[in-house]
């Protein structure tokens, strides 16, 4: 079966600055892949290229089997995207948001109707369906945003710090949704600053200064760095970087 993501020497330059420096990695279908790194390490740039939003300077990559240089429209149709900062329209109701995104992704009217009912029931928000999204608690919004991001059954979903600021119970319920999606063979590509969440991933890559400095399962990374948590691994890798910069 084809890989969900394949990159080879993927690079992005902004003038003299190399934001993403020849990264090479593969993500399997149905895998939960954690994409970690310090602020400014180049995660967002890499993610924007993989989503077909930014043209790479050099290298190669396919996402869901489509080339991110030449087939960006196909890429966009086959992925879902959600971030903490932007996800839903606050001044539309729950139902309107679902209909809007369904339309954007080209779902038919009957399909949207069916999906709307399924989604409302799954999240148990049928009673709130006609309320403005702005009136919902943050945790509900995040769960709704995730469900809408996979409304069109994409093969990959990109999550950019999806759980920032939510309470610890909701954060875990959110991860239940991620597990469930992965169990149904949706590939999950996720960034987070919560290091305990890094441990929930099947594999993790750690970006430092535009490059991938480590890539493995959480268990093997902890063994490799002699750390008892991913936080320990992260601090070691990022500290090396700080020292070499000075």
């Amino acid at each position: 079966m084809e890989k969900a993501i394949v990159t080879k020497d993927l690079t992005k330059r902004f003038g003299d600055f190399i934001a993403t420096d020849a990264i090479t990695f593969e993500v399997e279908r149905g895998e939960i892949f954690g994409f970690l790194g310090a602020n400014g390490a180049g995660k967002t740039t890499a993610m924007r290229m993989l989503c077909g939003l930014l043209k790479p300077s050099s290298g190669q990559a396919t996402v869901a089997g489509y080339d991110i240089f030449t087939q960006t429209d196909r890429v966009k149709k086959n992925i879902g995207y959600m971030s903490q900062k932007f996800s839903l329209y606050e001044d539309l109701t729950v139902r309107e948001n679902i209909r809007f995104y369904g339309g954007i992704y080209g779902l038919g009217r009957r399909q949207i109707k069916l999906k709307t009912e399924q989604l409302l029931e799954k999240l148990q928000i049928t009673r709130e369906a006609d309320q403005l999204v702005s009136s919902l608690p943050l945790g509900w919004k995040q769960k709704l945003a995730f469900s809408i991001a996979i409304l069109h059954d994409p093969s990959i979903v990109f999550l950019d710090e999806p759980t920032g600021g939510v309470d610890p119970i909701t954060r875990r319920q959110f991860w239940d949704l991620i597990y469930e999606a992965a169990h149904q063979q949706v590939t999950v590509f996720v960034t987070t600053h919560y290091m305990d969440e890094a441990e929930y991933c099947d594999r993790i890559s750690m970006m430092v200064d535009g490059r991938i400095k480590a890539l493995d399962t959480p268990r093997r990374l902890k063994a490799q760095f002699g750390a008892d948590s991913m936080n320990g691994v992260f601090l070691q890798l990022a500290r090396q970087q700080n020292i070499s910069n000075q």
Partner: protein
Amino acid sequence: MQPIVINSICKQFGKLSALNNVSFTVEEGELFGLIGPDGAGKSTLFRILTTLLLADKGSASVMGLDVVKDYKRIRRSVGYMPGRFSLYQDLSVEENLAFFATIFNTTVAANYDLVRDIYVQIEPFKKRPAGKLSGGMKQKLALCCALIHKPSVLFPDEPTTGVDPVSRKEFWEMLQRLKQKGITILVSTPYMDEAVLCDRIALIQKGALMDIDTPQGIIQRFRQPLWAVSADRRYELMEDVNKYPDTASSYAFGEHLHVTLKSGEAGEAALKQHLSRHRGLSVERTQAGIEDCFMFLMQEQNQ
């Protein structure tokens, strides 16, 4: 004199109760953490204490000054670092610092001692517009600006939100050093793992305090036996534990699940037996952390 005294503060926004009867005090020289998720009421309380918002009910004082009557004097003697980046994006690093010093009728030189440790880290970028700094750098500059008039109480509101683990660690080290210089600090955070870095903490959720104590004191009140459970296939394990009738709670924690049982200690053997088909199974007693306590108290609050 206790530098921060909060007495039965209530604040409504329309139908939403942002703060519901909140009371606590912060001792001199203490590093006190207000721990809770977005929407818990942390920023509302900070804005009341820094005289930017009026409470509906209750009273509060900072440095012995009333937050309503003496608001002008409070503003002169506290440092407030709002959660959202509050600097002037189009002024450079050094211009921002000079601006804040001037506002408070002082100079950067007069109080440089207090901010030097932090400022030297961003000094190489002093000509850069604040809007073009990285997340960690912005927080350092914001902290310098909040300190430049030598406040006796510092209010950093979610200084580490959205900041990577390395910058977070550095920021807490800076707070520790400020505490050693005798500054009283009330800091808020949604990251439960930062709670142990405070002298005392208050856990806040939906506008109400759930507990106040030292981190150790709060952890000691978590009396149920807790197990850390793991196996090779995590999703199957989670489903199995969730369906097990004796499970009282099960939450993911790093590579483990933290599980409590309705039958408590007596149920351990049966749990192990029930899960024995999972490859790589490990079931061990473990110590609760602040996050376990927070979730337990949240569940109690919801009942």
